[in-house]
C-alpha cells in the first residue's frame, strides 16, 4: 500500500474511533452503573438503548450555546477546545498494533506526559473565564489536584522505562514479550492507575466538579456543545489512560491466537470498565485528604519504586 494512503487511513481511524467510542461510553457507563445498582438504565431507544447516545448528541447540538455576559469571552471559548486538542494529540503516540501508530517518537512517553500536563489548562481556564465563584473554586481545585498527581504519574512510569530502556512506546510493548510489566512493576501500575483517575477527574477524584458542593464546578456556566466538549474530553481521557495502562503494563497488542488489534481493544475495554466500576464503588474524599494522600503517600511510594527498580536493573546488568 502507498505509505501516504496508509498513514492517512491510520490518522483517520485514530481520530474517528476514539471520538465515537467516547460517545458510546456514555451509554456503556449508564448501563453498567445501572447493572451494578440493580436498575435497567437507558433501554428504550433502539436495541439495548444503544441509540440513546445518538438522541443525546442530537439534543446537545441543538441546545442554546450561551456565553455569560460577565465571562472573559475569548478564554471561555478556547477552554473546551484545549482539552479536546491535548487529549487527541496524545493519541498520536499510542501503538495500537505493530506499525499502526501515527508518530512512533523516541520520546513517545514524554509526549504523552506533556500533553496530559497541558490538559489541566482547559479546566483551570474554564473555571477562571466563567467569572463565577463555583467555577473558580472548581478551577482552583483542578489545578492543585492535577499538578500534585502529575508529579508521581511521571515518576511511576519511570520504572517501566528503566526496564524497557526506551521512551518509545513500541519498544516498551516489544520489551514485554516474555513478561508483562505489571508483574515487576505492580506498584508502578497501581500508582499510575490512581494518577490516571485523578488526571481524568473521574470519581473518586472528581472534586473539581463535585456537584454536591460546587453546582457543577468548572463547567457550571457552560452549555450546549461547549459543555459536551468537556464531557467527551473526559471520556477520551478515560480511553487514553486505559490504552496507556494496556501499553505500559499489560503488553499492549501482545497475546496468543487473536490478531494484535483485538488484544489491544479487549485489554483497553477491560480497564475502561474498571474505571466505571470504581465510579460505582468508591465515595469522594475530602479535598485536603486528596492532597495529603498525593504528596505524603503516593509520591514517596513512587520514589521508592523508582529507587528499587533502578537498583535491581543496575544489579542485574552483566
Amino acid at each position: 500500500m502507498n505509505p501516504i494512503v496508509k498513514s492517512l487511513i491510520i490518522l483517520f481511524l485514530v481520530i474517528f474511533i476514539p471520538l465515537n467510542v467516547a460517545a458510546g461510553l456514555i451509554w456503556l457507563e449508564r448501563r453498567l452503573l445501572a447493572l451494578w445498582q440493580d436498575r435497567y438504565g437507558p433501554n428504550r431507544v433502539g436495541p439495548f438503548g444503544l441509540l440513546q447516545v445518538l438522541a443525546d448528541m442530537i439534543k446537545i447540538f441543538f441546545k442554546e450555546d450561551w456565553i455569560p455576559p460577565f465571562a472573559d469571552k475569548p478564554v471561555f471559548v478556547i477552554a473546551p477546545a484545549v482539552i479536546m486538542v491535548t487529549v487527541l494529540m496524545s493519541y498520536t503516540v499510542v501503538p495500537w498494533a505493530p506499525g499502526a501508530t501515527v508518530a512512533d517518537m523516541n520520546i513517545g512517553l514524554l509526549f504523552f506526559l506533556a500533553m496530559s500536563s497541558l490538559g489541566v489548562y482547559s479546566i483551570v481556564l474554564a473555571g477562571w473565564a466563567s467569572a463565577s465563584k463555583y467555577s473558580l473554586l472548581g478551577g482552583l481545585r483542578a489545578s492543585a489536584q492535577m499538578l500534585s498527581y502529575e508529579v508521581f504519574m511521571g515518576l511511576s512510569l519511570m520504572g517501566t522505562v528503566l526496564l524497557a530502556g526506551s521512551f518509545r512506546l513500541s519498544d516498551i510493548v516489544a520489551a514485554q514479550r516474555h513478561m508483562w510489566f505489571v508483574i515487576p512493576q505492580f506498584l508502578g501500575f497501581i500508582l499510575f492507575l490512581i494518577a490516571g483517575l485523578a488526571e481524568t477527574r473521574r470519581l473518586p477524584f472528581d472534586l473539581p466538579e463535585a456537584e454536591s458542593e460546587l453546582v457543577a464546578g468548572f463547567h457550571s456556566e457552560y452549555s450546549g456543545m461547549k459543555f459536551g466538549m468537556f464531557f467527551v474530553g473526559e471520556y477520551l481521557g478515560v480511553i487514553l489512560i486505559s490504552a496507556m495502562i494496556t501499553v505500559l503494563f499489560f503488553g499492549g497488542w501482545q497475546g496468543p491466537w487473536l490478531p494484535p488489534i483485538v488484544w489491544f481493544v479487549v485489554k483497553t475495554l477491560f480497564f475502561i470498565c474498571l474505571f466505571i466500576l470504581l465510579r460505582a464503588a468508591l465515595p469522594r474524599p475530602r479535598f485536603d485528604q486528596l492532597m495529603s494522600w498525593g504528596w505524603k503517600i503516593m509520591l514517596p511510594l513512587a520514589l521508592l519504586n523508582l529507587l528499587v527498580t533502578g537498583a535491581v536493573v543496575l544489579a542485574a546488568r552483566p
Binding site: 506526559l113 500536563s117 489548562y121 477562571w128 482552583l140 492535577m146
Partner: protein
C-alpha cells in the same frame, strides 16, 4: 524542517511581544504559554526532542500552571487592568526597546558573518542527554538538586510557621 523552525520562532517572538503588552494578567500568561510551546517546537526542529518534551512538561505544564493558580487566587479585576495601563506608559518602552535593538543587531551580525550550521547537526536523544548529565556534568546536577532541596525545605518552613500561628 527549516520552514517549521522559522514558523515556530516567529510564533514565539510574536507571542512574547503580545505577552508583554497585555493588560490582563491571565491573557499575558496565556501568551507566555504559547511562547513556551513555540520554543519547545524550536528545540524539536533543532534536533533536541528530549529537551522539547521537558520544556513542555516542566515549564508549560507545571510552572505556568502555578502562575495561573496564583493569578486566579489574587482575583485581579478591572482595577488591576487600569493600574497596569497606568504603569505601561509609552515612554517606558524606550529603554527596553533600545537594548533589544542592540541585541537584534548583534544577532543579525553573527548570522550574516559567522559560519553557523544551525539545522540538523544531529539528533540528541534521551540517551545522550542522560549520559552527559550524569557523566561530565554530574557535579552541576547534584548542586542544582541541593539548591532545589534547600528551596523545598525553606518553603516547608514558611508554610509550617503560618500553620502554627493559627
Amino acid at each position: 524542517m527549516n520552514i517549521l523552525f522559522y514558523v515556530a520562532s516567529a510564533v514565539a517572538i510574536i507571542a512574547t511581544f503580545l505577552m508583554l503588552t497585555r493588560m490582563n494578567a491571565v491573557h499575558a500568561l496565556l501568551y507566555l504559554i504559547v511562547s513556551l510551546l513555540a520554543v519547545a517546537l524550536v528545540f524539536y526542529t533543532l534536533g533536541a526532542p528530549f529537551v522539547a518534551a521537558l520544556e513542555i512538561i516542566i515549564y508549560a505544564g507545571a510552572i505556568m500552571v502555578l502562575f495561573v493558580f496564583v493569578v486566579m487566587m489574587l482575583n485581579l479585576g478591572r482595577a488591576a487592568e487600569a493600574q497596569e495601563r497606568e504603569w505601561q506608559r509609552p515612554s517606558l518602552w524606550v529603554g527596553p526597546s533600545v537594548l533589544a535593538v542592540v541585541l537584534i543587531a548583534e544577532v543579525i551580525y553573527v548570522l550574516t558573518h559567522a559560519d553557523t550550521r544551525m539545522f540538523g547537526a544531529e539528533v540528541v536523544g534521551p540517551h545522550q542527554v542522560a549520559q552527559s548529565l550524569f557523566g561530565p556534568y554530574l557535579i552541576g546536577v547534584e548542586l542544582a538538586s541541593m539548591l532545589l532541596l534547600g528551596g523545598l525545605v525553606g518553603a516547608f518552613h514558611l508554610g509550617r510557621r503560618l500553620e502554627e500561628k493559627r
